[in-house]
């Protein structure tokens, strides 16, 4: 019986790859948007003005303090009440981007603050303007502390993208859920789903670890 189900599972393997592709697309788009917005907000939070800073702080706390499932339900069920009707796919992208932006903003702000304040002063006294100070002096140095946790955050976001299956986006987890109804071998089906997630997350985890190690040795050598 198990062999029979295994053969069935192999037959519908393309369906799983489609799901994997959807996971990659959904998380890829939100990662890109989240990185851009996260850097912008992070820079403002680290260096910026007195009125926007607390607003960003509240936003980050709200996102970090609530589960992603609740956030996605709010985006999907409550926005229509206010006249914004979103299909499942854009709703998923929106929710994941909001989530990613909050976490990346924290990482970027932390990285910028880790650069010694003397660097700002040195850059200013070299006659660089505010943008040039950031672009040529501060950001290149803070990237050392930003990059490893940023890649780690990407892994978390890819994993969180599994939650968008609850609003009906047919990505990898949803494919597993749909399959297990027809092929009642839960261990087999979700092992396959797990292996496919592993295939995209694990290389990123290794990359993050390696970066951390390399950057640590680099600092010692300086």
């Amino acid at each position: 019986m198990m062999l029979f189900y295994f053969q069935r599972l192999v037959e519908i393997l393309p369906f799983f790859f489609k799901g994997l592709w959807m996971t990659v697309v959904v998380s890829g788009i939100s990662l890109a948007l989240g990185t851009i917005l996260g850097f912008l907000l992070g820079i403002i939070r680290a260096s910026g003005n007195r009125f926007i800073k607390p607003v960003i702080g509240v936003y980050v706390a709200l996102i970090r303090g609530t589960p992603f499932v609740v956030q996605i339900f709010i985006v999907f069920f409550i926005l229509p009440d206010w006249g914004i009707q979103l299909a499942a796919f854009p709703a998923a992208i929106l929710a994941l981007t909001i989530l990613g932006t909050a976490f990346i903003c924290e990482i970027v702000a932390g990285g910028i603050k880790s650069v010694h304040s003397g660097q700002w002063e040195a850059a200013a006294s070299s006659g660089l303007n505010r943008y040039q100070q950031l672009r040529y002096v501060i950001l290149p140095q803070s990237l050392q502390t930003i990059l490893p946790p940023l890649v780690g955050q990407y892994v978390l976001l890819i994993k969180d993208s599994s939650v968008v299956s609850v609003i009906g986006v047919v990505e990898l987890t949803r494919v597993g859920w749909l399959t297990v109804v027809r092929i009642p071998e839960g261990l087999m089906v979700f092992s396959l789903v797990g292996i496919l997630y592993f295939a995209i997350s694990y290389p990123l985890i290794r990359l993050s670890n390696n970066m951390e190690k390399r950057l640590a040795t680099q600092q010692v050598m300086l």
């Binding site: 609530t66 709010i74 409550i78 261990l187 089906v189 789903v193 592993f198």
Partner: protein, 222 residues
């Protein structure tokens, strides 16, 4: 924006919300406690001199860390019955949460233990302490303090993760929100209330984590 926000319904459902809150609380505490045990065992395995034990621990930790929790929950929820095990949803959920957080806690404890400088251990050896004495009197007292803030961080993550148990119909906080949504179709009232309760838990745990972090820094400074 909140035009027609119906506080009466929230009040009417308050007993359910409070029960959900209590369940979320209990699930998180039980899972955290079990995860601590699993984490310490996995960490001991990870640092073990035997290759087989080390390999198994690494396989466990890495496979948990590179797959989404939702997939792990479904794995047990749909998988255990195919093994002939009829486990209620609540226990299935706690099992998944325990194994998930256990892997992260193993890494936290490992980071704490490896943060104790080698010289300390060598000093212990030359003072004639055996392995258990070294662990008990030198390594653990220093390592445990180090692990408290990240463990509280993990507790925050665990509380938020427990929201995913609503997907296998465990009656916790998020599930109460879903019930209110489907019975009265009032998603805004339901999920904003749910989010509010999660935020309360988050702020309590977050201030605990910040406080323990500060205490740790002060202790090191003296």
């Amino acid at each position: 924006m909140l035009k027609g926000f119906n506080f009466r319904v929230i009040w009417e459902y308050m007993p359910y919300f409070l029960e959900g809150l209590r369940n979320t609380f209990l699930i998180s505490i039980v899972s955290l406690f079990l995860a601590l045990i699993v984490g310490v065992i996995a960490c001991a395995g990870r640092l073990s001199p035997w290759r087989l034990v080390r390999g198994l621990s690494i396989a466990y930790i890495e496979s948990i860390r590179s797959t989404p929790l939702l997939v792990q929950i479904y794995f047990f929820y749909f998988g255990l019955p195919t093994l002939g095990l009829r486990v209620p949803e609540l226990q299935t959920g706690i099992l998944a949460l325990m194994l998930n957080s256990g892997a992260y806690i193993a890494e936290i404890v490992r980071a704490g233990i490896t943060s104790v400088p080698n010289g300390q251990i060598e000093a212990g050896i030359s003072s004639g302490l055996n392995y258990f004495q070294r662990m008990r009197f030198i390594v653990l007292p220093q390592a445990l303090g180090e692990t408290v803030p990240p463990l509280l961080g993990q507790a925050i993550v665990l509380v938020k993760d427990s929201a995913l148990l609503s997907m296998i119909s465990v009656m916790e906080l998020t599930r109460v929100g879903q019930t209110l949504t489907s019975e009265r179709f009032m998603p805004a009232e339901a999920f904003f209330t749910v989010a509010f309760f999660y935020l309360c838990i988050y702020f309590v745990l977050k201030s605990l984590a910040d406080w323990s972090q500060k205490k740790l820094i002060f202790r090191e400074a003296y």
